[in-house]
């Protein structure tokens, strides 16, 4: 509730409207906000990971059910994880994704997003919102799986060029958990994020 309130204050939208907003409308508005933020913010454009994380936390995460997303990628083992482990898994997974996409954000500057007509029934609580990123070159397919929650529609999986994010991590996470357990996976993700930080710092020097 506190987050929902914080979000609506951020966006200076009435609470009621945020809760009733249709999923495709939400994606359209969110995409436009993200694009205009990228255009305005030089640090985000240059892929500054810390800035991108702040931006993602304030703007995108309130519209994502990230615990569902992480749990879905982890699978059955999620239920065996302690709340502390679950929190660490979410944090490291989020950092991994942010690091991965941070570099791509700058490319979004002169792109537009076309939200395709929503094919859903009135009472649906889970929908797929299909969009495409238009700019130079071929259009990039970008789809979202969304669920209706008490705090409005939330994203729980996304698809880039036909590839679903959660599905792509499922096998890798399962491999790691079966070899080294949940703590092993957390350690691998943390190490990956730390090394990634080193690499991106090294790249900036060039």
């Amino acid at each position: 509730m506190a987050t929902a309130l914080g979000l609506t204050l951020n966006l200076t939208l009435p609470l009621a409207r945020a809760a009733e907003e249709a999923p495709d409308e939400l994606i359209r508005r969110l995409s436009m906000e993200v694009l205009s933020t990228i255009k305005a913010d030089k640090d985000v454009q240059s892929g500054d990971v810390r800035k991108v994380i702040t931006f993602v936390d304030s703007m995108i995460m309130p519209k994502v059910n990230f615990s569902r997303m992480t749990a879905s990628a982890i699978g059955r083992s999620w239920r065996q994880a302690s709340p502390e482990q679950q929190k660490r898994l979410q944090d490291e997974f989020k950092n991994l994704l942010v690091r991965t996409y941070a570099g791509a954000l700058s490319q979004l500057q002169d792109q537009t997003i076309n939200v395709k007509p929503l094919r859903a029934q009135a009472g649906d609580t889970e929908v797929i919102v299909r969009t495409e990123v238009l700019g130079r070159g071929d259009p990039i397919q970008l789809d979202y799986r969304m669920e209706k929650t008490a705090g409005g529609w939330k994203i729980y999986d996304l698809n880039v060029l036909g590839v679903w994010l959660v599905e792509t991590y499922r096998t890798q996470f399962a491999q790691e958990i079966s070899a080294r357990g949940i703590d092993g996976l957390i350690a691998t993700l943390a190490l990956r994020n730390k090394n990634g930080a080193m690499t991106s710092a090294g790249q900036k020097k060039n």
Binding site: R68, A71, S72, G75, W78, Q86, D138, L161, E167
Partner: protein, 266 residues
């Protein structure tokens, strides 16, 4: 037509030959927890390692140098030129898949780009809102119901499936560069095409480097999904059965440990 059917026959022959060779390999590859889509995993991992080594040592450095040395305009021209040639093959496959709108648009693309676009150097068609519909023979087989078969990593060429591998010889026939008589020109064009493709993937491969815990299975799972989606098969649609929600307590076990219904907020 005879040429075409011959090519298909050759493709199937080579495809089944590859299958036979790999069947022999299967003995050593089968482990108790084998991924059903990737029964030849241990063989594939070796080829993947070989390809990665080759890429790091040779192809990637050349692609980076190419990107650093040549002006943007020239590189775009090169990509457009090869893109136009591949549009010709996409046209054939769009027709084979009986896609009228896509066939007409692709035909118009090739026409416009070959003439106004100066032999394909400029992609004028995209500016005319003629969309690009990439289709290859593997997709055509898929469209007509040929299953993908097991995942297969090919030396030099990378991720594939048994079906896509079987389709390769046909794709090579359809590749207009392969029809160039002068072998020096043919090899030079092929080399340029490889460098052009690799340069176009530099950003993607950097992303995979940062995103993947295990590059092999990441690439495999992404590739298989991408190919499925290209022939119009999405893993999720409105008819998909509901997935088990691991973030919610197990049904009938409300107090399951760790089963938080509310996400811990940072």
């Amino acid at each position: 037509m005879t040429l075409f059917s011959k090519a298909i026959a050759a493709a199937w022959f080579r495809g089944s030959l590859a299958g036979l060779v790999l069947l022999v390999l299967q003995g050593c590859a089968t482990a108790p927890n084998t991924n059903p889509r990737d029964p030849w995993e241990s063989f594939n991992r070796q080829v993947h390692g070989f390809n990665e080594g080759l890429d790091e040592a040779f192809v990637k450095p050349v692609a980076i140098a190419y990107q650093d040395v040549t002006p943007d305009l020239l590189r775009t021209g090169v990509s457009n030129f090869f893109g136009n040639l591949s549009d010709v093959w996409s046209l054939v496959n769009n027709v084979l898949q009986l896609k009228p709108k896509e066939s007409v648009e692709t035909f118009a693309r090739v026409g416009v780009n070959t003439t106004i676009g100066l032999a394909g150097l400029f992609d004028v068609a995209t500016d005319f809102n003629l969309e690009k519909y990439n289709e290859d023979f593997g997709q055509t087989l898929g469209r007509w119901g040929v299953p993908t078969g097991p995942y297969l990593v090919l030396p030099l060429m990378g991720p594939s499936t048994l079906r896509d591998t079987a389709a390769l010889p046909v794709n090579w026939r359809g590749n207009l560069i392969g029809g160039v008589d002068d072998s020096v020109v043919r090899y030079s064009l092929t080399a340029l095409r490889v460098v052009d493709l690799r340069a176009g993937l530099l950003r993607t491969s950097r992303m995979i480097d940062s995103a993947a815990l295990d590059k092999y299975s990441f690439t495999r799972d992404a590739y298989l999904q991408r190919r499925r989606s290209l022939i119009g098969l999405n893993i999720f649609d409105s008819n998909s059965p509901p997935e088990e929600r691991f973030d919610l307590p197990e049904p009938g076990n409300q107090n399951a440990p760790g089963g938080t219904s509310k996400p811990p907020q940072p």
